[in-house]
């Protein structure tokens, strides 16, 4: 059996089994945890296979590409899968005590597993219509997770989330229809070949902008990010962490994949003129939002926006004419940044969940004193916060340096200035969150009576600690991480290998 079917099959089987165990929540928990662990192991195996430079291809039903749907795992997909597996395990452990029993008994575990299935499918597929289908799979699971529980605030957030994502899907579908009409194929490798020899490159460029808009809504790019801070803080921490770690990154992944493999016909327009300023604005808008928000979870939602901007600046700079080395450096920085930011964002949202439970709120104006009453949590929070701000030696530092250096090499001083300004805003926001939530004496004592069993508290702090260790390891091991990202960037910028792996050797 081909390894590539497992990242979809494992969550599917686990979700189906936990649906069969509907009456027993504790059985569902263990099925979900085992499923997540198995997924993490398989994803790590796929990652290690892609690290040799091999592009693993699975043609479903033995229909050769481009006629059938193919799953393709290259270095980029391997990295994304690895992070997905780790985050899945962390979130499942957290939800043992972080999710209330109402949500648990109404299908929380099957839904998270279906979400994971959609995410893995989106990372693996080599067919752009199939990508649409996986998007819908993960979206419908996320819609239900977003509104599960039915709190007023949650439903208000869910209306915005659902609407904007449906608009994005409709645009994606429109773009797909026009793309198929003009190029006659949906296999991404085949599209890459045909775009290069298209009769009407202007039409393809117009289409690529339509794809750009559809994916920018999903990845929360300026000016289409408004739905994210309006909804991500409303569901419980385990759900927000899963969304923060994985969902916007699927959008970023889709942008990276399509704008390195397919739409490279007019990079001066699509990458340099359209994407680069938008990504730079995203960094500033996210940074400013992060700085001024008074609710910790809302601030983290803006942190997601800011980090999406940094990653997409790296992608956009691959379209700037100039030295090949600078293009590789920029994309490698972007990939390393996306990889580490998945861990950071999941960790921050889980941490915010613990804060909310301990203090009854995430409002920086009313909480305080966490450094004395929860010193371990405070230490873990500091790691996540400083990694987001990009303080060495944590994981956010090296990729940002790479992107800034690539920008300076390309004589794009304003881009470097935007990233650095974004970092300053992030640091200011981090300092504020730290002093308000952790250092300042508490305004009111939380009720000690609500303390629950130590085992439950442990189930919440362990995943936060584990993700913090990942962040430290990714920071200290920046060299190997960056080497892997650089190899992935080289593979993306020269799609001939990908095309040969998918379409066969005759080309």
């Amino acid at each position: 059996m081909n390894l590539l079917v497992l990242p979809v099959l494992i969550p599917m089987v686990a979700a189906a089994s936990s649906l069969l165990l509907w009456k027993s929540v504790s059985a569902q928990r263990w099925v979900a945890l085992m499923g997540a662990i198995a997924l993490a192991v398989v994803n790590a195996l796929i990652f290690s296979r892609t690290q040799t430079g091999e592009i693993v291809v699975l043609a479903f039903g033995s229909w050769p590409a481009p006629f059938g749907i193919a799953f393709v795992a290259d270095r980029l997909a391997g990295m994304m899968l690895l992070a997905t597996g780790v985050i899945a395990v962390a979130v499942q452990i957290y939800s043992f005590s972080g999710i209330d029993s109402d949500r648990e008994s109404f299908g929380f575990y099957p839904l998270t597993l279906i979400l994971l299935m959609g995410v893995c499918g989106a990372f693996l597929t080599g067919d752009i219509f199939n990508l649409y289908v996986w998007f819908e799979v993960l979206l419908i699971a996320s819609f239900v997770l977003m509104s599960l529980g039915g709190e007023r605030l949650q439903l208000q957030g869910a209306v915005k989330y659902v609407t904007l994502n449906l608009v994005s899907s409709a645009l994606f579908l429109t773009a797909l229809g026009l793309l198929y009409g003009s190029l006659g194929t949906l296999n991404m490798a085949h599209l890459s070949e045909r775009v290069a020899s298209a009769d009407d490159p202007g039409f393809t460029t117009a289409l690529s902008v339509l794809f750009l808009v559809a994916f920018s809504i999903k990845s929360a790019l300026f000016p289409l990010y408004g739905w994210l801070p309006a909804s991500y803080h409303t569901p419980p921490a385990a759900v927000s962490a899963l969304f923060a770690g994985l969902l916007t990154k699927v959008g970023v992944y889709a942008l990276i994949r399509t704008f390195t493999l397919i739409f490279t016909q007019d990079p001066g327009f699509t990458h340099q003129l359209v994407l680069l300023p938008l990504a730079a604005m995203t960094v500033l808008a996210g940074g400013m939002g992060f700085w001024v928000q008074t609710d910790m979870r809302r601030a983290f939602a803006f942190a997601i926006v800011a980090s999406v901007g940094v990653a997409l600046i790296g992608l956009a700079m691959t379209g700037v004419p100039g030295s090949e080395a600078a293009r590789i450096l920029a994309l490698a920085g972007a990939l390393a940044y996306v990889f580490q930011t998945m861990f950071v964002k999941a960790q921050l949202f889980l941490m915010a969940g613990i804060v909310r439970r301990a203090m009854g709120s995430c409002d920086l104006r009313t909480i305080g004193g966490l450094a004395t009453c929860a010193p371990w949590l405070a230490a873990m929070a500091l790691i996540g916060l400083l990694a987001f701000a990009g303080v060495p030696p944590l994981s956010g530092f090296a990729p940002k340096v790479a992107i800034v250096r690539a920008a300076l090499d390309q004589h794009l001083g304003w881009v470097a200035a935007c990233i650095l300004a974004g970092s300053v805003l992030a640091l200011a926001g981090v300092a504020r969150i730290w002093s308000e939530a952790f250092w300042k004496p508490p305004l009111h004592r939380p009720d000690e009576s609500e303390q629950d069993e130590p085992a439950n508290a442990l189930a919440r702090i362990v995943p936060v600690t584990g993700l913090a260790l990942c962040i430290v390891a990714l920071g200290l091991g920046a060299g190997p991480v960056f080497d892997a990202a650089e190899a992935a960037a080289r593979q993306l910028l020269d799609p001939t290998e990908y095309i040969r792996a998918v379409l066969g050797g005759e080309r």
Binding site: V133, I140, A158, V162, T163, Y180
Partner: protein, 113 residues
Amino acid sequence: MEWLLALAIGALYAGGLYMMLRKTMVKLLIGLAMIGNAANLLIFTSSGIVRSRAPLVPKGAKTLEPPFADPLTQALILTAIVIGFAVLAFALALVRRTYEAVGSGALEDMTEE
């Protein structure tokens, strides 16, 4: 034939967008449904409308003789219709629950506080 479909698609997109810009959630949903259908019709039209046979290879022949209808777009639309139906059903339920929880169907009441 194409021009007629093109007009219909344009009208659906325009109507859908107009409905989405109205003030209530129900109209928003109608707008979303219209845009989804517009996209499906667009896929259908983009592969070319031909007066032709089903894409079956005749007995004894090795390949298809044009003109034949493209079967792939129909498969794509079928997938998109099913997905759109499920998503719309969910959105309807969500709107109803939100109406019950918030006590209003107006989009301007969807902000917090």
